[in-house]
């Protein structure tokens, strides 16, 4: 492994950076456990073999897309519809990879492939957090620590769901999804240091709630793009930060 001298500054070793990433993602890992269990259990329920159910978590590695897809498989919906739905759900990852392009595209191929594969909502969130706090270029070991530990949690939780099978307790009622809200609030709030960012946050907040209430497909992406557009247009119109 190359030691990436230039980018390891805030951490005394690659291992420490890895651990910092794993720690940063931990609340999100805890929050994803019930969904992992559900993904494993529902895959079995939809008629996938235990091996196929685990393979889905291991190689698809996308919570929302997996849950929707197994629902569609169970309902006997065809491959084309499943793939189009997958494309709609996953479209926000295009935004993440574009936002990360400046930081990740100069890295060697093995880093690009592994961080690309691991680029979930959760990894994007903790990279955004680290960038804000340290104001440093991306430390790939930090990202790998966050991404890989999250990947392992997702797969262990799916395996547990496959083992438990149909007898899963009603995990959704535990409210573990609040951990996602708490972590994202903790990451976003300190970043609101300019009026344009406040506008961006408020617009995506209101728009995402409206989209969810009216069950708009791809509401997350629509809300995000609208927030980003309002924030950057406001900054441009007022000459903010220039």
């Amino acid at each position: 492994m190359s030691s990436q001298k230039s980018s390891a500054k805030p951490y005394s070793s690659n291992w420490k950076a890895w651990l910092a990433g794993a720690l940063a993602v931990m609340p999100l890992s805890i929050a994803v456990i019930p969904w992992g269990i559900l993904a494993g259990s529902l895959a079995l329920d939809a008629g996938l073999s235990p091996f196929e159910s685990q393979a889905m978590s291991a190689i698809v590695f996308a919570g929302a897309a997996q849950l929707v897809a197994v629902g569609m498989i169970k309902a006997g919906i065809g491959l084309t519809s499943i793939l189009i739905t997958t494309l709609l759900i996953t479209s926000r990852h295009l935004l993440y990879s574009m936002a990360m392009r400046a930081q990740i595209s100069p890295l060697p191929l093995k880093w690009r492939l592994s961080l690309g594969f691991l680029l979930t909502d959760e990894l994007f969130a903790i990279i955004a957090k680290n960038k804000d706090q340290a104001n440093q270029p991306l430390n790939p070991w930090y990202a790998l620590g966050g991404g890989l530990s999250f990947y392992l949690t997702w797969n262990i939780a799916s395996a547990a769901g496959i083992l438990i099978g149909h007898n899963i307790p009603n995990l959704e009622s535990w409210g573990l999804d609040f951990a996602i809200a708490a972590t994202f609030i903790a990451i976003v709030t300190p970043q609101i240091n300019r009026p344009s960012i406040l506008i961006c946050v408020l617009v995506s907040l209101v728009c995402s709630v409206v989209c969810e209430l009216f069950q708009v497909p791809s509401g997350l992406l629509i809300a995000s793009l609208l927030g980003m557009a309002c924030g950057s247009l406001y900054a441009k119109a007022t000459g903010e930060g220039e």
Binding site: L23, A24, P27, G47, S49, E52, M56, V60, A62, A65, L79, I82, T90, R92, H93, L94, L95, Y96, S97, M98, A99, R101, A102, I104, S105, P106, R112, L113, G116, F117, L119, A128, G175, F178, A179, I180, A181, A182, T183, I185, A186, I187, V188, T189, P190, Q191, S196, I197, C200, V201, S204, L205, L213, L220, S224, G227, M228, G231, S232, K236
Partner: protein, 103 residues
């Protein structure tokens, strides 16, 4: 058929995550696009957490009975005052589960 579904889904999702990380992709992001993208993290993360907090049982819930909302407001206050991500997360989650436990 299941195997094919899994492989094609994996391919679509990996491509969406990897596409713009590929340096050979001939795409030069203009400074306007980069500015636009600099808003992506606050926008996306807010769009993920807001529905979790404001919508309960498929309905808008702005009331003191909504533990998600109370705990989220406390999380925002903690985040502003402490600027500490871990502390904010842990304390607001503790409050949330206390509220649930004693409801």
């Amino acid at each position: 058929m299941i195997t094919l579904t899994i492989l094609l889904m994996a391919a679509i999702i990996f491509c969406s995550r990897y596409l713009f990380l590929e340096p050979r992709l001939p795409l030069k992001l203009s400074s306007n696009i980069l500015k636009f993208l600099s808003y992506s993290a606050p926008a996306v993360l807010s769009a993920i957490w807001a529905p979790i907090v404001f919508i309960q049982q498929h309905e808008l819930s702005i009331s003191l009975d909504n533990h998600y909302l109370i705990s989220a407001v406390v999380a925002i206050i903690l985040a502003i005052t402490t600027h500490n991500t871990l502390l904010t997360t842990v304390l607001s989650m503790a409050l949330f589960f206390l509220l649930r436990f004693y409801q």
